[in-house]
């Protein structure tokens, strides 16, 4: 009854507004508590731990650190771009309305659906130079020993990228597929009427419609891949001789492998000047997409 009277009294009835506001706060409290205790506090803690100038000196004089920066840039540049380009192409494949392609898409999603630990360990064993399945096969076919896939910096990074792409390609293909299916069909129909070739349709219809999505995906995937710990740690462990570390694994190595907690945090703080602009750019894009 009270509510009825309030509604009749109009939007600005003080009783109802405050009741709603109080309930709103109550509903918001769990997340705010979580946010303050487990986001703000650790982030602040980390920033403070990362203020010791000695850590910066230690990092700049450690050859492992500079090598890690190069690794991270190479890994992101190679893995993210190949992954997203393949995803764009494959989204065209999966857009075909055929029964067997639909079945294939169910299998194709497996790498993303199952946990990465067993599959990365499977890769690791398969790529073992002495008794892995791949080199056994190479030996049987060519009578020569295969390469040391994981025991060399560049092929190690290559394999890390491969594993990363294997794991995340299905997810990005799904996203691109959703974007592609949202392109109005009549665009393609009028292109057909004009006699456009499949390639022309891709360049003049598909790509312009998906350019924005593609850029968003690149940004988001770069940020997420920067934090890919498993593909490196479980495949090469950052080795041999710390030559395949990236920023995601190096901090952990300093902090827990060498008990240099402040140096570990500093590796992340050093990445902030690159990360923050990416983050802000991404936030803007996601916000814009949200309110149509």
């Amino acid at each position: 009854m009270v509510a009825v009277i309030d509604v009749q009294a109009g939007e600005k009835a003080p009783g109802r507004l405050s009741q709603e506001a109080i309930w709103g706060l109550i509903f918001l409290v769990p997340y705010i508590v979580l946010f303050l205790t487990l986001v703000i506090y650790p982030v602040g803690y980390g920033l403070i731990l990362g203020t010791n100038p000695k850590s910066y000196v230690r990092l700049w004089t450690d050859p492992v650190f500079t090598r890690t920066i190069v690794n991270t840039v190479v890994f992101l540049g190679v893995a993210v771009n190949i992954k997203l380009f393949l995803a764009l192409l494959l989204s065209g494949f999966f857009a075909h309305e055929k029964r067997w392609i639909r079945w294939l898409s169910v299998i194709f999603i497996l790498p993303w659906a199952i946990p990465s630990i067993p599959t990365i360990l499977s890769f690791r064993w398969m790529l073992n130079a002495e008794w892995g399945m791949l080199n056994s096969l190479i030996f049987r076919l060519t009578l020569e020993d295969g390469p040391n896939w994981l025991l060399d910096r560049w092929s190690g990074l290559g394999m890390i990228s491969l594993v990363h792409i294997w794991k995340y390609l299905p997810f990005w293909t799904l996203i691109m597929l959703a974007g592609r299916l949202a392109i109005p069909k009549d665009l393609y129909e009028s292109a057909d009427v004009d006699g456009a070739s499949p390639l022309q349709k891709f360049f003049y219809v598909t790509f312009p419609s998906m350019r924005n999505l593609y850029i968003t995906c690149t940004l988001l995937s770069t940020i997420m891949s920067l934090g890919d710990f498993n593909s490196i740690y479980l495949l090469t462990g950052g080795g041999p001789a710390d030559s395949t570390q990236t920023l995601a694994t190096l901090g952990i190595r300093y902090a827990f492998g060498m008990s240099e907690v402040e140096v570990g945090v500093t590796t992340v703080v050093v990445a902030l000047p690159v990360m923050l602009p990416l983050l802000v750019l991404m936030l803007r894009r996601m916000r814009k997409g949200e309110q149509p």
């Binding site: 706060l25 659906a113 946990p115 067993p118 008794w131 892995g132």
Partner: protein, 280 residues
């Protein structure tokens, strides 16, 4: 059917075969190694000469040093995953109800903060999170892992749920208010039922995220009886002469529940998560 159509179909088929092989290689390898007898471990064969289930038997009977607490660890993984799922759903659904339906003041700020949190790579927060858990006295308890995973699951959950919540007709709430419903009743009787499909998607997302987590599980837990199966799998790597076939069998057992759950809820997952993940 013209020759050209057949050619196009053949090209699609070829691409399909390549995709099929590429996707299944490591999974096939995992499976083959898990049914390879231990004496053939280092043969590197494409198919074992004598397939066996002995590795699975070892896992189930906890018959190896690395697997002494297998069932306990499987339970730990399940417990952590279910807890993360439930808590994330509670936190995210209440928060989005307040932001989107009650339009609480400051709601926009909170959702912006959540979105920013979503963009922090979890690996970058590992060290401070470890320290903070020490301050809270939660290190080496499963609650540290549960709370951490809730922290990383809820921003995305809030973002996706908010987009769905914004689309619900506001007149529904108004009508309920006129009938005298309290916000709590609106939440329970209108909001939750209407949001059910996206709640299923988010619940599955949180469940799988927690089940699959390796880094935080291995940092925050240490006792053999407390760790999750993910960490136990990682332990196999500490020696060179680890029983890899048993490891692969354990990995297969570990991978099965999330795969099954994913395929059961696939309908919700694909529409729920791709809609939220990226908007062009």
């Amino acid at each position: 059917m013209s020759l050209r159509k057949i050619l196009i179909e053949a090209r699609l088929m070829l691409l399909g075969v390549v995709i099929f092989i590429w996707t299944l290689i490591p999974i096939y390898h995992l499976f083959v190694m898990s049914i390879t007898p231990r004496v053939e471990t280092f043969a590197g064969a494409l198919w074992p000469s004598r397939p066996t289930l002995e590795n699975y038997e070892t896992v189930v009977k906890q018959g190896h040093y690395y697997l002494e607490h297998f069932w306990q660890q499987l339970w730990n993984s399940a417990f952590v995953a279910v807890m993360v799922c439930v808590i994330t759903l509670v936190i995210a659904s209440t928060a989005t109800f307040a932001i989107s339906r009650l339009r609480v003041r400051g709601g926009r700020l909170v959702s912006n903060m959540a979105l920013a949190t979503y963009l922090i790579p979890p690996a970058f927060l590992a060290i401070p999170m470890y320290k903070v858990m020490g301050v809270y006295g939660l290190l080496n308890t499963q609650w540290s892992l549960i709370l951490t995973m809730v922290t990383f699951a809820s921003p995305y959950a809030i973002w996706v749920l908010k987009q769905y919540a914004d689309k619900l007709p506001y007149e529904l709430d108004e009508a309920a208010r006129i009938d005298g419903a309290s916000p709590l009743q609106i939440f329970r009787l209108i909001y939750l039922p209407l949001m059910a499909p996206s709640l299923v998607a988010i619940g599955t997302y949180a469940l799988l995220l927690a089940w699959n987590e390796y880094l935080y599980a291995f940092l925050l837990l240490s006792a053999d009886k407390d760790i999750t199966l993910a960490v136990a799998l990682g332990h196999f790597l500490t020696t060179d002469d680890a029983p890899f076939n048993v490891l692969m069998a354990t990995g297969a057992v570990y991978a099965l529940p999330p795969a099954a759950i994913y395929y059961v809820f696939r309908r919700y997952m694909v529409s729920g998560l791709t809609a939220g993940a990226v908007k062009s």
